[in-house]
Symmetry: C2
Subunit: 215 residues, 2 copies
């Protein structure tokens, strides 16, 4: 049972799914991917079948070791505890706190405000709303990173913070946020996108990526 | 230096501040509280002084061991690692995953959508918006808890999930959400509110609680 391959329920464009795909790639965990299309048929995440699997009706969800976990950071923490190499949290508790602070700032402070279900309710104001949420979050993030960053968000080791950063920058670009005021974010994002794990997990290279968006 | 008392920047009614106050109380960590009034003077969190301390311009923030941490779950995780007793995460990785899934569902999936800064932008629709966010989040939460709960959210030990649950239920009550459909949430909330750490950290008993709201 424990040797069954994990199954990741994912949507190519979901930034939270991408976080988990990066973690799986970095840790070298092979998995099967089941696409859940958040748009088609009014959203496949609302089907009775998917709801039974994940009552939160969101992706990502990971079936692993006989359980199903949802919430991207909960999944990543589970992977970190069960597959500790390479580590995605620094050893020093103070640096770990910085990593978590940045990850939570993105995962609780930015992404939820510009996710699909909120934007659907914004009608015409959708684009402006998303831009405002991201801009205000990035202003704080840029300042924080100026203190914590090395090559990546916290020092020179890839961490959970980086797994949140790259998908959030992709959202910013999709919503045409001017990245000019965020040189540190931009630099780190670029460095991370050079890494193989970030490339193969990219939304443009998923089994459910529509042909016109493929890399 | 390490023996300096931690300073918690808190607002009596902030549900995220309450999460941290519960953790500090459970772990028996004494601290000084500096109130940050999120309403007065257009929001004291926007002052230059506070922004220098926490660029996210939010409470809670905790000054401890020479660093300042923001984001409630990052703070709680730091406390868990530096003051492990009593533990707020179960030993078993699968149960830890359940705890984090529930905590993140509240911290990323519910609270951010009904926090002060979002509601300010909703004008007349404020109440309805908050009710919808909480209702939809609680429907999923009720189902999850039916599988995981014992006395508390996950089994019979108080965990980080419980630190998120109680303040979120208080928000639900403030926004007059009908709790009828959520018997499991209601039962766990009631059991937790009997515990001393949840009582002394309650919004009705803070130094900055206005006289008319005091317990």
């Amino acid at each position: 049972m424990a040797s069954e391959k994990p199954i990741l329920y994912s949507y190519f464009r979901s930034s939270c799914s991408w976080r988990v795909r990066i973690a799986l790639a970095l840790k070298g965990i092979s998995y099967d991917l089941v696409p859940v299309n958040l748009i088609k048929d009014g959203g496949q995440q609302f089907s009775a079948e998917f709801k039974a699997l994940n009552p939160m009706q969101q992706v990502p969800a990971l079936k692993i070791d006989g359980i199903t976990i949802s919430q991207s950071l909960a999944i990543i923490n589970y992977l970190e505890e069960t597959h500790p190499n390479p580590r995605l949290l620094p050893q020093d508790p103070k640096k770990r706190a910085q990593v978590r602070m940045i990850a939570d700032h993105i995962a609780s402070g930015i992404q939820p405000l510009q996710n699909l279900s909120v934007l659907k309710q914004m009608g015409e104001k959708k684009m402006e709303w998303a831009q405002n949420c991201i801009t205000s979050g990035f202003q704080a993030l840029e300042q924080i990173l100026q203190h914590t960053a090395g090559l990546y968000c916290v020092g020179d080791e890839v961490s959970v913070a980086d797994l949140c950063l790259v998908p959030q920058v992709a959202n910013a670009e999709r919503f045409k946020v001017d990245m000019g005021p965020y040189p540190t974010i931009t630099k780190i994002n670029k460095a991370l996108l050079e890494l193989e794990a970030f490339k193969i997990s990219h939304p443009s290279r998923q089994p459910d990526t529509p042909a016109e968006l493929r890399a």
